[in-house]
Subunit: 410 residues, 2 copies
């Protein structure tokens, strides 16, 4: 008991020191002591261990404010590596990512209608290849997947396209690779990615990331932390009903969900249906040839039907964001996913409708922007969540179910 | 500097001890030491001061698990008093409340079309009377008001009915009464009230309280804390647009807001309009005589029009709650406000529509219940928020702007 407490204090102090090394480009031992309220001796001892482990290095001397110039410490961002995985609709993407979110190596494989065990095999293939090519110690695997996820238990409750139900993905991957694994809903992962590695966000900030691609969802960062809700599915705005009467059927079983009118999938379905009725449109009349790329081309060329269809998705998103802002009073909204290819015109329509649909006072000052990480936000977020648990950076960290669960809690 | 740190440590430790006295019916010094990790001596010293100040008393002896039987401590809930105020539509209600949320004395005065300075005078009248009759030391005043509130700065940004815009209510009341004041949106206050004094809620729990009365709003308790959003107006669901085309005008300036179809005000307006068209209804045909009481009577008597109108409000609330559950994945929803008078039939319709409109996985297990505090939830919540800052319980606590701001942060 006594011993356990001492061990946990040691771990706690080490995590505190690491947190400060992570959060600063460079930092001195004295500054760490000042911020953490640890004694200079404790800080020095911990830093010595971190240097020995190669996680931290002395990189120079800082300015002196009277007294000796302080030695500056810096995270050795390439001393460890993580894997981030994004199980996107058409292709699964994986990457080796360093401790500062830089991608060292990426693999992308087409899904080709695989689902169930086939999709799982594709995950294994990507991971096998990435692990084989990792030249630094690998800390863990973070997976961003579409669908409802119980992150705490590491279970994909339901992912329609992948035909996964109650799949214990964390358990399967930890059994196979013997390193910690965290599984996250893809939109939640995008939010963690943009918050951690995107534009400078203040700590303790509120941020909503709307991830509009084949599916549509949001990730909520509230007071600097991913908010997952009671069951882990917070942010599932794609399945809020926006057309109460006569909406299109949704893959979730309901009708008129936001996803049926504002996602990439919805846009392609609409474009197929409407192109047949518009002889003069530049959009292909062959449904097989309809995809986001050709819609983007037609949109950029000013094709009226493409314009109308794309901006219709933006209008629905604008209303949805207005409602989110109304409920949560969040001042920063970041848009992510491949619908962002429609750029400024799409973004401006979203902003315009959001302002029109909002309580003036709440929307006033709300910034809506396109994210900076592009399609990488999900795999970066999935990997970033692993680093939030600094204990993973312990040498000889054993795989431990309890820790994996804590990790999932972010 | 050194001294300030020592002072803040002392305050911190005192707050820790008080927190544990508050959170337990009875507790021993040893248990406090165990939970807080403070030394037995520090705990004893702090407890001695608290006993001297009359905040805590020794109330008996607990069971021994080997060794001496521990002396049990208990909060002296009547040793201090708070004021809670609810600026409801037709009448302002105020009460003296003890440290455990028990109401000692309540006053309720009709608003009678007062607004602006007239409404403010009515607030003063109630406070003057309550303060005059307080027989214990008064710790502070908590106000729950309709409208948009910046709690941090204590400003009512906009309250339409009261005709208040940018009213620095906290400042005005602190100037007048020289005690700490906290101002909160009424629905947020209701949420704090139900969370603090309603049915047992686990700490760190998520809870949404929907406050349906003249206006309509929600209060969000996320991980055990009131979430106010970036600008303080989180929970403003009354002004999300639910009828995008052709909805009724809302007092916020938009059309088709949830408040125009699901609030008490909306119900009365609808009842007036519809009664004129239904000769056989039991509802009064004289618009002047239409109010919630007569609608409740007709509803209870099975009048078809009353049934239809009341259940229509429930349907809209059901969809709104489904959307909230979709966004936030909250498993506990508590209904508050005077629309709750329509009881089980209203509640059951809300539940039914919520389940039908939700993603099955999220709604599964979501409990929707009518709150336990009735109309008191707002004034109790407004007063409870004062106690969350245990430093208010310091003897000779000076009024201090910085503290009032912190207090507002909950």
């Amino acid at each position: 008991m006594e011993k356990a407490t001492r061990q946990s204090t040691k771990e706690h102090n080490r995590n505190l020191v690491l947190k400060n090394v992570f959060e600063h480009e460079t930092i001195s031992r004295a500054e760490i002591a000042r911020i953490t309220h640890l004694t200079p001796t404790t800080v020095s001892d911990i830093v010595a261990t971190l240097i020995e482990e190669g996680l931290v290095a002395e990189i120079g001397v800082g300015p002196s404010y009277g007294g000796k110039s302080p030695i500056l410490l810096s995270l050795q961002e390439n001393s460890r590596v993580l894997i981030g995985l994004d199980l996107a609709h058409n292709q699964f993407c994986g990457a080796l990512v360093n401790l500062r979110g830089k991608i060292h190596q990426a693999i992308s494989l087409p899904v080709d209608e695989r689902s169930g065990d086939g999709a799982l095999s594709l995950v294994y293939t990507i991971l096998d290849r990435l692990i084989a090519s990792a030249s630094q110690p690998l800390l863990g695997i973070g997976v961003g997947t579409p669908g409802l996820v119980n992150t705490r238990e590491g279970v994909v409750i339901h992912a329609v396209n992948l035909n996964w139900t109650d799949l214990p993905l964390t358990h399967l991957l930890e059994e196979r690779y013997h390193i910690p694994v965290s599984v996250l809903n893809d939109s939640q992962a995008a939010a963690v990615g943009e918050y951690t590695y995107g534009k400078d966000h203040h700590s303790d900030e509120n941020l909503v990331v709307i991830n509009a691609r084949h599916g549509l969802g949001a990730g909520l960062i509230l007071h600097g932390t991913l908010f997952q809700g009671s069951g882990g599915s917070a942010g599932e705005i794609g399945h809020t009903v926006v057309i109460p009467e006569g909406g299109l059927p949704c893959r979730c079983g309901k009708h008129g969900c936001l996803e049926t009118v504002a996602s990439a999938q919805a846009l392609i379905i609409q474009a197929r249906a409407q192109a047949a009725l518009h002889p003069t449109t530049q959009l292909p009349h062959d449904p097989e040839k309809m995809n986001l790329e050709v819609i983007e081309e037609a949109f950029a060329a000013g094709d009226p039907l493409a314009q109308q269809l794309v901006l219709a998705t933006a209008r629905f998103l604008g209303v949805a964001i207005a409602n989110l802002v109304g409920v949560l009073n969040i001042e920063k909204i970041v848009l992510s996913g491949d619908m962002t290819r429609f750029g400024e015109p799409w973004l401006n329509m979203i902003r315009e409708v959001m302002l029109k649909s909002s309580l003036t006072e709440s929307a006033h000052g709300t910034q809506v922007e396109i994210g900076e990480l592009g399609e990488s936000s999900i795999l970066l977020g999935a990997s970033a969540i692993l680093v939030k648990d600094y204990s993973l950076l312990f040498k000889d960290q054993p795989l431990d179910g309890e820790r994996a669960i804590q990790m999932g809690r972010y």
